[in-house]
Amino acid sequence: MTSTELSQSLPIDQQDERLIQAEGMRGRLRVLSRRLQGGEIGALPVVLGLVLIFVIFQALNSYFLSSANLVDLLTQCAAIGTISIGVVLVLLVAQIDLSIGSMSGVASAVLGVGFVLHHLPLWLTMALALVAGVVVGLIYSVAFVRFSVPSFVVTLAGLLALLGFQLKLLGANGSINIPFSSGIVEFMQAMFVPRPFSYVLMAAVSALYLFSSLARVRRRRAHELSVPSVTGIFLRSGLLLVALEAATFYLNEDRGISAPFVLFVVLVVAMNFLLTRTAWGRSVFAVGGSVEGARRAGINVSRVYLSVFVLCSMFAALGGLLSAGRLATASISSGVGDTNLDAIAAAVIGGTSLFGGRGSAWSALLGIVVIESIASGLTLLNLEASVRYMITGGVLLLAVIVDSVSRHSRAAHGRA
């Protein structure tokens, strides 16, 4: 479509003469800079931060960006990243779940006790652990919706209770080793996407992006709405293809793309789809934006809270299972310590607002990559855990400040 065609009959969403038309490359850049100034920053700070982290650590230790380290780094992301998807959900409705660490610990204990001690089938113990997540989520939502207990208190109580339950389950053993031959440990430690297939997979992902973008253009044209440039779509898909294939090639120099990381990304994409393309996702954002507005629009607010708490606990349980598989053990220290902090920090660092109604499933991925990069870089520098905690804490504070400042900026520019 040429620009002359467009100006002859403007699409119905561009007929207001006050609309500032974004013509050409310069126009688009101007629109972008106006949005950034207005606080619509999206994933920009975290991407910039990630580049900065990569540059710094690479300069300090050239092993950092090697294929082997990146493969480990991405595999390391899967367990806590999965938990972080659930955190994104509760943050979107402006609530919090502080018990995700304990929940993941309970799940790993269920796996250890059920699978190793009682010789139950693996699928059954994993299902039991997920059911435990559902039950905990239901209890939280009853306490929150029915008795109006603030979510941070409910889940703080849950943190203690679940920790107790985890200790009780593990009993005198304290620690249960999960055999390497079990499916989950193998999956977490030794399963990689076969090399030839990995290239096909990336090509398929790019093709999917291309076709869904083109389908959107077709739908918009059918409804007489303005359409983005088709050349731009092909260009972006091409860039995506090149970037993905290059990354795959680089990772394939070592062991390749790990299966847990693929699972994690699939979960992120699925959650992103649910959040952006379904009525349920819309209601999650609406509740985060204005509870009263959502209620008066006829949304069953209690049901939204319930779904979010249940999903969050389920993701925490799944994350616990993955982490037990990664470490090949379920112990009293599973899920204790930095699991909570890392999962919540990842969601916030990735750009999901603590104030509700703003964020994306992708922030779980971006945030956890930042956190694991810092952890990996500091480990390579032989720095102790103490320094790692302090630096992660600093980055979290920075992310919250960015969130706060961009919120004020949005309010000042009328985009709150």
């Binding site: 207001d16 739908r219 709405l225 009525a279 934006g289 507005g293 006829g298 703003r358 709150a416």
Partner: protein
């Protein structure tokens, strides 16, 4: 301007059967009798202003109609059939749309998302394009001036937000639209815009219940004015045949009130000035 049907009504022709009619509605909160034996009718293509001082029971009546409160006694007849409105969803399903004073929009969502919130058009996934197009056609019907429907409503002006809230009430094709103080927070131009919107709703044969404190708005757009005082009916006036003073008197409860005394005093002073000239 006005459609033939509403013009006929104003000429005093017999009113058709009302769309909505309340009979003997009472509601008390503990020891407080908020509403006692209220009657109210709203017909299609008619703007009824609901007036009353603070605490007169206007908000309680609106909440009963929108399903937030249930009346203790009395009947609600809607489209000739007795209706029970036990939740906001039921009220909306019946065909009563309420535009609240605080608008109840979600600031973080864009105009399209707000318009269709709670009843999104979907075919497995959300039909964003269909909704966007529908949004434009709704806004065009109201001659609304919204530059883009893909911006968060937080970035709109007060009048534009009010427009979005009113347009949203029309999504389910309601027969009655209740507007709670739609001009209270608006400037002069924006008030005029909203009054135009109300006239357009009337032309499209919606019944409109307009809750307001602003007598100028009543004079501008309302066909009838129903006055509540201390939870009781205190008059039902044809706006064009009644002086503003009489309506104010009904609102304040007496022909002799602070408002009328002031009016008389001012008028007296003016007469005296003219006489002295």
């Amino acid at each position: 301007m006005a459609s033939p049907s509403s013009a006929a009504k104003r000429d005093g022709a017999a009113r058709p059967d009302p769309l909505l009619s309340l009979r003997g509605i009472s509601k008390s909160f503990g020891a407080v009798q908020a509403l006692a034996d209220i009657d109210l009718d709203v017909s299609a293509g008619e703007v009824v202003a609901l007036l009353g001082d603070n605490g007169a029971g206007k908000s309680t009546l609106v909440k009963i109609l929108s399903g937030v409160h249930q009346p203790d006694s009395g009947t609600i007849t809607f489209h000739g059939r007795e209706a029970k409105i036990s939740s906001p969803t039921e009220s909306r399903a019946l065909g009563i749309a309420t535009v609240y004073q605080d608008l109840a929009l979600c600031d973080n969502l864009d105009v399209v998302a707000n318009l269709f919130l709670g009843r999104e058009e979907k075919r497995f996934t959300l039909s964003e394009e269909a909704m966007e197009r529908h949004a434009w056609s709704l806004l065009r019907q109201l001659s609304a001036k919204i530059p883009s429907v893909r911006i968060p409503v937080a970035s709109l002006s007060g009048g534009q937000r009010q427009t979005v809230a009113i347009a949203r009430s029309l999504v389910g094709a309601p027969s009655i639209v209740i507007l709670d103080e739609p001009t209270a927070a608006l400037g002069v131009a924006q008030t005029a815009e909203v009054l135009n919107l109300i006239e357009r709703l009337r032309e499209r044969d919606h019944g409109i219940l307009l809750i307001t404190h602003n007598m100028a708005d009543v004079k501008e757009v309302a066909d009838r004015a129903v006055v509540l005082r201390l939870g009781r009916n205190n008059g039902d006036y044809d706006v064009r045949a009644t002086s503003q003073q009489d309506i104010v008197a009904a609102i304040t409860g007496a022909t002799d009130s602070a408002v009328t005394r002031r009016a008389t005093a001012v008028a007296g002073k003016r007469d005296a000035e003219e006489a002295s000239r």
